[in-house]
């Protein structure tokens, strides 16, 4: 479903991603772990299409299409969703209005009929329950005055409404207390299905206790150094990242 090949990307002239290779199949859950500054967030931002990230080589193919040639909104219409590490506050832009515009743009793109206000409200209310988001949040400005935990819950709520086929969760666990983490994880787990792929970018194994990945990758210095199953995450938790780097250097030598 998603194929990343030899991806190189720079930010402000500095190369951050140095040849990423990664294939993600439908319905799979992947965890990308790594130390600070390894390029984890850069990878999510490149996939979502944020400005300021220059792809210098390689390709990203999604459902057989060239993802890198698409604008950010086109990627959203094709089913890509990014749950932000730092969701931005947009005072004055109504949360529900934004989602309705997003959902209907996607439906239009896929040749489906747009949802009317009534149908949409029903959808939204059902999804809000999933992450225990109070209905009063629906009519507020996007993330306006939300606590850190509420912002992350709002991201997962939006994911539930937009029903992506590829969800990138960028450090969704950071800044969450244990209760909020549980709620967010339950929401994500409820959204797992055979067609939806999920990529979790995280520092910590903690999130993976709640959302069990099929694959774990270690990203360091712009490359994926090692891949494995969920046991790799436990090993990383115990031994840190350095041994992976050493192993990779030995293999290269």
């Amino acid at each position: 479903m998603l194929r990343i090949e030899q991806l190189h990307a720079s930010v402000a002239g500095k190369e951050i991603l140095k040849g990423i290779n990664l294939t993600i199949g439908a319905g799979e859950v992947h965890a990308i772990m790594g130390p600070n500054g390894s390029g984890k967030s850069t990878l999510s931002n490149v996939i979502a299409g944020r400005d300021g990230y220059e792809v210098t080589a390689g390709s990203v193919t999604y459902h057989g299409k060239d993802l890198l040639a698409m604008k950010p909104e086109e990627r959203a219409w094709e089913g890509v969703f990014l749950a932000f590490q730092y969701p931005v506050e947009i005072p004055g832009v109504n949360n529900t209005y934004m989602l309705k515009a997003g959902v209907n743009a996607k439906r239009k793109h896929q040749g489906e009929q747009e949802l009317d206000a009534m149908d949409f409200m029903q959808l939204v209310k059902a999804k809000a329950k999933l992450v225990e988001l109070d209905q009063s949040f629906l009519s507020r400005g996007v993330n306006e005055g939300f606590s850190g935990g509420e912002k992350k819950r709002n991201e997962i709520f939006q994911m539930a409404v937009l029903e992506p086929s590829l969800a990138l969760l960028d450090e969704t666990d950071s800044g969450l207390d244990i209760d909020a983490l549980r709620i967010v994880a339950q929401g994500v787990n409820a959204l797992r299905n055979a067609e939806r792929s999920i990529v979790m970018v995280t520092h910590y194994q903690r999130l993976l206790d709640y959302i069990e990945p099929d694959f774990v990758h270690v990203l360091a210095d712009g490359q994926i150094l090692k891949s494995g199953d969920k046991h790799l995450a436990l090993e990383l938790e115990e031994r840190g990242y350095d041994w992976v780097k050493v192993e990779a250097e030995q293999a290269a030598a």
């Binding site: 909104e73 959203a76 832009v93 309705k100 743009a105």
Partner: protein, 429 residues
Amino acid sequence: MSDMALNTAALPGDAGVQTLRAQAAEVFARTGLPGRRDEDWKYTDISRISATLGEAWWSPTPSELSETDFSGIEGLDAYRIVFVGGEFLPEQSDIPEGVTLQSLSALLADDADERSHCLFRLDESAPLFNGFLAANSALASDGLCACIGANVKLDKPLYMVHIGNSTSHILNGLMLGQGAEATLIEHFVGGDSNSAGLNNIATYLRLADNAGLTHYRLQMEGTKQFHIGRVEVKQAGNSRYTLHAVELGASLSRADIVVNLAETGASCDLNGLFVASGRQHIDHHTRIDHNAPYCRSRESYRTVLDGRAHAVFNGKIVVAEGAVKTDSAQSNGNLLLSRNAEIDTKPELEIYNDDVKCAHGVTVGQLDEDQLFYLKSRGLSEEEARQLLTFAFADEVLVGMDSKLIRRFIEQAAFSKLPNMSDLEGFLE
């Protein structure tokens, strides 16, 4: 401007008014018009006015429009007070009962009535005093004069519609007695017609103890029109004044908003929205004097500028020595949609005692890239995301309007001016 002699001879009013007119004409001839050397007019070049309207730019001209050219604010239930070309039309108007309300022209026609005198008396030492105000005093022949008695709560807004594209000098006075409450809407409309004139308006507002006034000032003049306005407010103890100033029209528009918090516990809220495009020039100078203890002032102005539009905002707050426990905050946000748009903004605080709380903040910028990306990542197109953010930015000063009908009316008028502001209907809910 070679000859600044105003001819006041044929104008209405008793001997007292004639004397005041003559004095005003003298002040006008002496002080002339403000120029770029005046600090308060540094960014607003009024030579455009005489260049367009000719040397006797002050001479009243008739309006080509009639009251049927403007339908009003849809659904608004109000006492309609209609002026066309600066002239009150009683047959088009609806005067509330239990309120002393007359047009200035009717008041001037009665020689035994001296109530209009105070409106014509000039105080050259008043803040932001200038030649336009002198011309107004010398030449004004119509306007609204009203007294709302103690504890009268007006059931509907007073809705003054000025249908223009002409030159006129309008003088208004509104007094609210103790505990009285009212809403005043001043609405200036023009058309797309090619004719141009100068609307020169002065509005004096007096609020007695505990009175409350909500004032909508909606400047939607024709695109070639000039608009010069002054609002002067004097507030007694615990009175409340709220202004919603909206500037959308005119080629050049300047307003001086002068508020005197004269007695303990008075409070004012000044909200402003400018949406300008093309070569429009809009300037608001606000001046709030905290002259008594425990007064509160809030000021929130936002501008959205496109094309080569130029806006000026000056917010001056003066806290007197005895005005302890002053609570004042000012914010001014400016969104520049084009590289050629220009904003000159300046907060000015003069504080003469230590026991005050004064905050101010200014922002100038373009749309936020992080917000744009966030919306696009949710599937909104670039254009839709830009519209939405622009709208949200401006709408933040409109949320304080207690009339949803006026708010909706302004939202639609404001955003039909900007390019690609197509269908935001769903958002308006």
